[in-house]
């Protein structure tokens, strides 16, 4: 894109409604691997409507790159709709399960941190706690950062799922 002004890379969340089949899912992933686009996270799940699925993709790129990604997604025959939620008011959530060591400071301090992030304790052993946290990516990142010094032994994140807010007016309830 030499003749265009390069805009800054930013994070984009794309919500893609597709016919539910693995060939389509592979085609979508293939766009990212084959054409060299960034892919931060991807979730795939059946939709309420039978035979449909929603894929939520978070990617990085400037406006031109994301526009190309959008067009390539549209070119996949079984893609019905692509919504770029980045500039829309959207509800975005991700879930993480974090196992953290209680050896250094004991359970209460870790549980206080969990409380601050509205995380749930879902497993307790002699020297570890497993916490479940949901929220937007920033919140999950923040909790992980706070817990790091205590020793995170294992972790699993879902990646983002997102939907457009029905009300697009100027209210922030995030």
């Amino acid at each position: 894109m030499s003749t265009t002004t390069i805009t800054k890379d930013s994070r984009h969340t794309l919500s893609v409604l597709v016919k539910h089949n693995l060939n389509t899912f592979s085609r979508i992933i293939g766009i990212f691997s084959g054409k060299g686009f960034e892919l931060e996270s991807v979730t795939f799940a059946s939709e309420a409507e039978r035979g449909m699925a929603r894929i939520t993709i978070t990617t990085y790129g400037n406006e031109e790159t994301v526009e190309q990604i959008n067009k390539h997604l549209h070119n996949v025959i079984d893609v019905l709709k692509v919504t770029d939620l980045t500039h829309k008011k959207c509800i975005e959530r991700e879930l993480a399960i974090v196992k953290v060591s209680t050896a250094k400071v004991g359970r209460p301090e870790i549980m206080l941190i969990a409380q601050a992030f509205k995380a749930k304790v879902i497993d307790i052993t002699a020297d570890k706690l497993a916490l479940e946290v949901t929220g937007n990516t920033d919140k999950v990142d923040a909790m992980i950062e706070v817990l790091k010094p205590y020793g995170i032994t294992e972790m699993s994140r879902t990646g983002s799922v997102a939907l457009k807010r029905e009300f697009q007016g100027a209210v922030n309830i995030n």
Partner: protein, 594 residues
Amino acid sequence: MKSPNTSSTAETSAHTTPLTAVAKASADASALTDSGADILIKTLADLGVDTIFGYPGGAVLPVYDTLFDNHELNHVLIRHEQAGTHAADGYARATGKPGVVLATSGPGGTNTVTGIATAMMDSIPLVVFTGQVPTSVIGNDAFQEADIVGITRPITKQNYLVRDVNDLEHVIREAFHIATKGRPGPVLVDLPKDMLNTKARFSGMKKVEIPSFKPTVNGHHPQIAKAAEMLSNAKKPLIYVGGGAILGEAWEEVTAFAERTNIPVTTTLMGLGAFPESKPQSLGMLGMHGTWYANMAMTECDVLIAVGARFDDRVTGRLDGFSQNSRKIHIDIDPSCIGKNVAVEVPIVGDVKRVIPAIDKLASPPEISEWWDTIHTWQKEHPLVVPKADDRIYPQHMMKMISEVTEGNAIVVTDVGQHQMWAAQHYNYNHPRSWISSGGLGTMGYGFPAAMGAALACPDRDVVCITGDGGFQMSSYELATAVEYKIPVKIALMNNNCLGMVRQWQQLFYQNRTSYSVFGSNNPDFVKMAECYGAVGMRATNPAEMRQVLNEAMKIKDGPVLMDFRVVENENCYPMVPSGAALNEMVESDEECK
């Protein structure tokens, strides 16, 4: 064949059994008289397919058994599945109808891969059917099993694995719909053997509705108006026509528009024939081996309208030196082609056949006599280079003589390399669908089988396959097919005993280190090769012989003829935009490169 099978079965049962409940039930069951293989062949016939290129094997034996009694469908037994896909591709390019291929599982399928990728890059409608191992053993590393749907995913517009025989007919109809509508492309349908044996019912339901696939054909009106206004006021406009104008069958619209407005036209390699080169507005081909004046016009123009072209790197040269001062309009049916390499001011997503007349209606001819003066000066100062004639055959003269002998009316099919570029430069293209060449993928070995496909599709036209000693050897085995089916392809083999374009690049950019690009005396005797297949072979070593051989060859109508033209071996192809240079940084001779 075309009548639904159910009526005939109902008739049979009525004759033989009284109408009891039991008999009625059995009549319903016996309605399932079509095997998947039958349904495949019936659906193809129903879709108007007349020719398929195929090769049998274990997984597709049920289809071949059906074909044994079928005399409606012309099945061409090619000698290699890759050649089969190229032949189907040539058939598609010559007619606009989708080419159809049938291959077996495993290696049969993987052999089609290069042909499918070739079609994908040039947006050619193909439907490829592959056999697959039975559904019960898929994933078990069964004999001749390959995940062909996985392998071809990035090189098909869509592909399918049929897992329920009741879906088969619909999937086939969808495959043809997708291959031909919007931006065309190849579609693969993988058929497990049990699907071909299981019985189901052929419905004959023609309607295909895919809610997620609705290409935009009418351009956005305000954008069309803006484009018309820009062109009307341009001082130095240029029309840049690509393969989309051929695929969209918009040659008449493009020609009418250019003639009325008198705006100069350059075509890409894929667009050759979309605008007649005999017209005064034609600047010929642009790009790496395009004409000097087309490339200069592209560099200097102030309003550029791209018509079904995709700003390929072989067209643009170095991007930051590409047509810097022009305002750009881009018409394409595929939105992902727009803004991919070059930013445009007026994107128009739509079918060129509809958009061009809409612009034509609104645009007035711009005042561009000065622009034409400049272009005429370029044309006078830098015409296409042709060596001075002597008693040897220069490749450029070879192309000119073929153009002359065929009166510019042949379908020219090429391989890839120097001969391809010379054929593009020196043959006079005045008809659409008459230039068939692997532009995007650059597939050597494409020419001869694609020429067979074109010749089968257009029996009343002369088909000349211009090839090289390298490319021809990649599919020479198809001589057997051409002889068997009496396909009158004229093979004009530009024999310079080397991989000319590779050697040219090595000479220019690798200090003349001609690594593994020169065959020298290790080439076979091509005349004997033709003869051993039962084809006619002829050789020419000077221009007089070449004319004689060409005249002789054009008379042969009942089989292939191979013409071994011994050309000047060291000739290189110019003008050339060296790799990494801007479009106006052309070199015109070996001397200039030193």
